[in-house]
C-alpha cells in the first residue's frame, strides 16, 4: 500500500462512495437474459456486472464424472480480460478455480441433488466487470439463473460481504474498501433455512467484530433475497403481459 490520501470513512460515518456503514450498493437483477441457456440471470451489484448461464440437467461430460446416486454440479467462475484495470489473462487463475469451487459449494445445499441421478448441471459465470464482492454477486445471480431454469430448489441463495474499514464494521465492500480495508467476510445465506452456505474471510478481526460482520452480512443477504424474488416475479409478469397483448385467434 503506497499512501492513503483519502479516508475511507469520514467523521459522520459516511463512506467514500456516499453510503452509510450498513448500506448496500445499488442492485439490478434480471432473469432469462440468455436465449440459449436453460436458465440465466444478469446482475449489476454496484459496478459489478455479471452474467450467469445454467445448462441442464443434462448428460455429464466426461462421463466418468457422473454419479449413480446424484446430480453433479459444475461451476466455472471466469473473469473477462477487460473486467479489471489491468488486463487479466483469460486462462483460469488459481483464484478463479478456488472461487468456482466455493461458489459451487454455496449453491449445492439449495439443490435436491439426489433427485437427478447420473445427470449434471453446468453453471457458467462470466464477470464482465469486477468491483469488489464479485463472488457474492455471482452467487446471487447463479441462484437466480438456476431458479430460472426450473430446477427445484430448497431456497434461493443470496450473498453479500461485510468487512472492516477504518475500525468500523461495514456492509458490502467495493473495490477500494476491499483493497485498503482491514478485513472482508463474504457470506452466502438461505433465509428460509437459516443456513450459511459460503463463509470466507481475510484480514484480521477480533472475535466480536467477526460476529458483528457475519450478522451484518446476513442482514444484507436478506435484503438481496427480497430483490431476487422480485426479479423472478417480474419475468413472469412480463410474460403475462405479452400473452395479453397477442390478439385472440
Amino acid at each position: 500500500m503506497n499512501e492513503k490520501t483519502e479516508k475511507l470513512i469520514d467523521k459522520k460515518g459516511i463512506r467514500l462512495d456516499g453510503r452509510k456503514a450498513d448500506e448496500l450498493r445499488s442492485l439490478k437483477l434480471e432473469v432469462g437474459v440468455l436465449p440459449n441457456a436453460d436458465g440465466s440471470a444478469y446482475i449489476e451489484h454496484g459496478k459489478n456486472k455479471i452474467l450467469v448461464g445454467v445448462f441442464g440437467p443434462r448428460e455429464v461430460h466426461p462421463k466418468h464424472l457422473s454419479r449413480p446416486d446424484r446430480m453433479v454440479v459444475k461451476c466455472r467462475y471466469h473473469m473477462a480480460p477487460f473486467s479489471v484495470p489491468e488486463r487479466k489473462s483469460p486462462a483460469p487463475s488459481r483464484r478463479e478455480v478456488e472461487l468456482g469451487k466455493v461458489i459451487r459449494e454455496s449453491l449445492e445445499p439449495a439443490l435436491f441433488l439426489e433427485l437427478y441421478p447420473r445427470t449434471g448441471i453446468d453453471v457458467f459465470i462470466e464477470v464482465l466487470q469486477a468491483d469488489g464482492g464479485s463472488r457474492c454477486a455471482s452467487i446471487t445471480a447463479a441462484a437466480l439463473a438456476i431458479a430460472d431454469s426450473g430446477i427445484p430448489m430448497r431456497d434461493l441463495v443470496a450473498a453479500c460481504a461485510a468487512g472492516k474499514v477504518e475500525d468500523t464494521v461495514v456492509l458490502d465492500l467495493y473495490d477500494a474498501e476491499d483493497k485498503l480495508g482491514a478485513a472482508d467476510v463474504p457470506v452466502a445465506y438461505m433465509p428460509n433455512l437459516n443456513a450459511v452456505t459460503l463463509l470466507q474471510m481475510d484480514g484480521i478481526l477480533a472475535p466480536d467484530e467477526f460476529e458483528k460482520a457475519v450478522d451484518m452480512a446476513i442482514d444484507g443477504c436478506k435484503k438481496i433475497y427480497a430483490l431476487q424474488k422480485e426479479a423472478l416475479k417480474t419475468k413472469y409478469m412480463n410474460v403475462k403481459e405479452e400473452i395479453k397483448e397477442e390478439p385472440e385467434e
Binding site: 500500500m1 503506497n2 488459481r94 483464484r95 478455480v97 478456488e98 468456482g100 469451487k101 466455493v102 459451487r104 459449494e105 449445492e108 445445499p109 441433488l113 467476510v185 438461505m190 433455512l193 437459516n194 443456513a195 450459511v196 452456505t197 459460503l198 463463509l199 470466507q200 474471510m201 481475510d202 484480514g203 484480521i204 478481526l205 477480533a206 472475535p207 467477526f210 460476529e211 457475519v214 450478522d215 446476513i218
Partner: protein, 263 residues
Amino acid sequence: MSTLITRVRQKQIGQTIDAGKRLDGRALTDYREIKIEQGLIEKAEGSARILLGKTEVLVGIKVEIGTPFPDTPNEGVLTVNVELVPLASPNFEPGPPDENSIELARIVDRGIRESKAIDNEKLCIEPGKKVFVVFVDVYVLNHDGNLIDASALAAVSALLNTKMPNYEIKDGEVKIKQGYTPLPLRSHPITVTIGKINDKLVVDPWLEEEQVMDARISMAINDEGNICAIQKGLAGYFTPQQIKEASKIAQEKAAEMRKKLKW
C-alpha cells in the same frame, strides 16, 4: 478426495458422534496426537514434518532472489503450493494441481499472508528490483483426513525453521555471503478445522469422518486470538449460531496448538 465407506460404518460414525463420542476414542473437540519434526531437509532453507494422527505432511521452504510485485515494490513475495503426492492416497493422481490442491494451497497461503506472519518488508533487498521470494511447498505424504490443519501447522513450523542467506550489495550486484539469519516472523497463525456431522461440530475430522461430514469450516487464529482467515467448505451449511460456536472452539484449540510450536 473420497474413499469408499460402507453405509453401516457411516451410520456408526454418526451415532457415536450423536452420543458425544468418536470411534477413535476422542472427544468431539480433541485433536489427534501431533508430532512435529523440524529441519530434516538440509538442502532446503527451512523444513518441517507433521504427523497429525496418521496424516503426514512435509513442508520444504526455499528462499530465492526474485522481483517484487509492482504494487508492493519493497515487500518480499510469498508463494504457497500444495502437492497431493500420488503415494499419499489411492485417490490422488499425478498431474497438474486440481481444485482440491489449489484450495488447500490458498487456505494455507491466506493464513500466513493475512496474519502478516512474515515481516515482508525485511525481505526487500533493492526496492522495486530485488526481494527474497519465499516458496512454501507442501508435500502431503499420507492422507488420513484434515489436510488443512496439518498443512498449515507444517508450513508455520517450517517457516520457524527457515534461514535466509546473508547478502551484501557490491557494485549494484547482490552477493550471497557466508552465514544465515532467521526468517523474520511476527505471528504464528494456527488453522483449526471443524467439521459438521449430524448437526454436531467435530474438531480435526479424520478420513472416515470426512466421508460423512456435511460441511467444514477452517479458521486461522493469530497470536492475539484474532481471526485472520476463514474458509467454509463442502456442500453443506452452518447456521449462524454454529459459526459463532465454531469461532469459540477455534480460539481455544489454536491457543492449545500454538504451545506445540517450537520457537
